[in-house]
Amino acid sequence: MGFKFQNVDFLKFDTLLNEDERLVRDTARAFVEDNLVPIIEDCFREGRFPRELVPQMGELGFFGANLHGYGCAGMSNVEYGLVMQELERGDSGFRSFVSVQSALVMYPIYTFGSEEQKQKWLPDLASGRKLGCFGLTEPGFGSNPGGMTTRARKVGDEYILNGEKMWITSGNIADVAIIWAKVVDDPEPGKETVRGFLVETDRPGFRADEVHGKWSLRASVTSGLSLQDVHIPASNLLPGSGGLKSPLMCLNQARYGISWGAIGAAMSCYDTALQYAKTRKQFRNEPIASHQLIQEKLVWMISEISKAQLLSLHAGRLKDAGTLTHEIISLAKRNNVWMALECARMARQVLGANGITEDYPIMRHMMNLESVITYEGTHDIHALIIGGHITGSPAF
């Protein structure tokens, strides 16, 4: 139920987009409106990932959209961002799945993989024939991934992996996991370097257990991974990876997309609140949209959404020019997810009691955004990344 989405564009933002960017956004918007919106409340309630949409998304080019070649669409980063926005306007969990497939699985193979690895994996990941997951976070190491305990030991032509990974989106549906592990005695005895490995999920010793009881991102799969003496050929090492910088580069890709995605969730909440406020009557039989305190909330939302749009577009243009820094990404992710969560809370209030039901998307967005503000660098960690950058004094 809810209302049919009406474009949210206070600033004439669309005039900043070129024809292709608008067409890409229109395709993603129509896809979400036709295919995801009608089923998402059921998926969320049932805790079901709508896997049936994967092949069509592959055909449309949504996976690894900003990568070039290997069956990828070769979109600009702004176009990629607009796709993320529309997907998350549908649902943050659904967008998370695409972010993981694109930014955390395809991007590292594309960036750190050998030609053979790219040929083997990217076309199948782009089409959705194969799915992937990204194992960096561990039960004891979230904001501090450098402390990871997962180890890879080279024995002959193989690596043997041992460790636990936690909060892994798509863990149970993945055909391949990008596992980040410290390599024992690499490159010299006693020294350990973080490297990325392609681990096929059907290898003996690899296990994924779904996380149950989530009140957030219920339309995507979240898992814990266990690796016990998992043998993989040495050729499964991502040769270009080296040090914690490598997984952080992946996270930067994903965080950039999240900054756009959060705008989508906020747009959905704002648009719902606006349409509701125009129809809901209270006192003197006037729509509540005419009430000052409701207007103040709507104005706060549209102001923050408009600023966030400019911020992400700016980041996207910088990224396309090759000059985007990770501090700017931190600022965009931190600001936009925060404002989206505030929009969800405000929009919920505009809808009164109706706001808590699944008849409207707001509570779902709000619950989802509690994850989004935590994953891929928490709100506070991003503050410290920016803080460390502007002061020159790292706080962690």
Binding site: T27, G61, A73
Partner: protein, 265 residues
């Protein structure tokens, strides 16, 4: 098979429209535009025919520069090339009625010698339902309107035509032909991201309306046979009727009203 699809860019169906100060048309400021719905189905039919039988799909559209986005969308969905009959502003084409526009379209596509010309049965904005049919006459081709399905049969076509009241008609006709397409019989495809990228490389031949008219003075706008006199928004009215009698009588009265007054069932 060489197929030409005539498409029109119209204000989006959900656009919140205002009447302009002259009461002759809507205020186009801030209006979103999209491909006319039945034209989108015509394009889909053309693309499916091409996929099944090979050939080429060419889109033609008359409109100002903004129509370029709709043309690009058609190319992104899979059309091979396009002809943009470009007006210099929002008003140039308004001087033509359906006959005049059909003349311009005919002049811009007659050299293509297409096997099939498709277009939507009517536009979502003016809703005249004339352009496609007149185009057939001007091109000297047979036509059929309200078409839901096209199949290739021998050297010609077998088409399914919608009649009123749930009746359908099967027609066989020879090519070349012009068909006007009814919406809703198939699922429209999305422009894929790869398609959008590829569209940039496809040919869009821009013909200025003024140049076309200069080359053939008979295309000059003549006194239109149909004149748009006034545009107004439907009057908003709200009334409540209580249907009396037994539940069965009230239900029968309700069904009658739904059937014959508001015509929704």
């Amino acid at each position: 098979m060489k197929i030409i699809v005539a498409i029109k860019q119209v204000p989006e169906r959900d656009a919140r429209i205002r009447i302009d100060s002259g009461n002759k048309w809507i205020d186009l400021e801030d209006v979103e535009f999209s491909m006319n719905e039945s034209d989108a189905y015509a394009l889909e039919e053309a693309l499916q025919l091409k996929e099944a039988h090979g050939g080429e799909v060419i889109v033609v559209s008359a409109g100002p520069e903004r129509a370029g986005k709709t043309i690009r969308e058609a190319l992104a969905k899979g059309a091979d090339r396009a002809i943009h009959l470009q007006s210099s502003d929002e008003t140039e084409l308004a001087a033509y009625d359906a006959l005049g526009v059909a003349r311009l379209l005919a002049a811009s596509i007659q050299d293509e010698k297409a096997d099939l010309v498709l277009t939507g049965l009517q536009s979502d904005d003016l809703g005249l339902g004339q352009t496609g049919v007149i185009l057939a006459e001007l091109l000297g081709l047979p036509h059929a309107s309200l078409i839901l399905k096209i199949e290739v049969a021998g050297n010609g076509l077998k088409v399914l035509r919608e009649l009123e009241d749930g009746w359908f008609q099967h027609i066989e006709l020879a090519t070349p032909a012009v068909l006007t397409i009814q919406s809703g019989n198939t699922k429209l495809r999305y422009a894929t991201l790869m398609g959008i990228k590829k569209a940039k490389t496809k040919e869009v031949r821009v013909i200025a309306v003024a140049d076309l008219v200069a080359s053939d003075p008979s295309l000059k706008p003549t006194a239109p046979s149909v004149v748009l006199d006034q545009v107004k928004l439907p009057h908003k009215q709200r009334s409540t009727q209580l249907l009396g009698g037994s539940p069965a009588e009230a239900a029968a009265a309700l069904v009658e009203k739904l059937q014959f007054e508001v015509r929704v069932i």
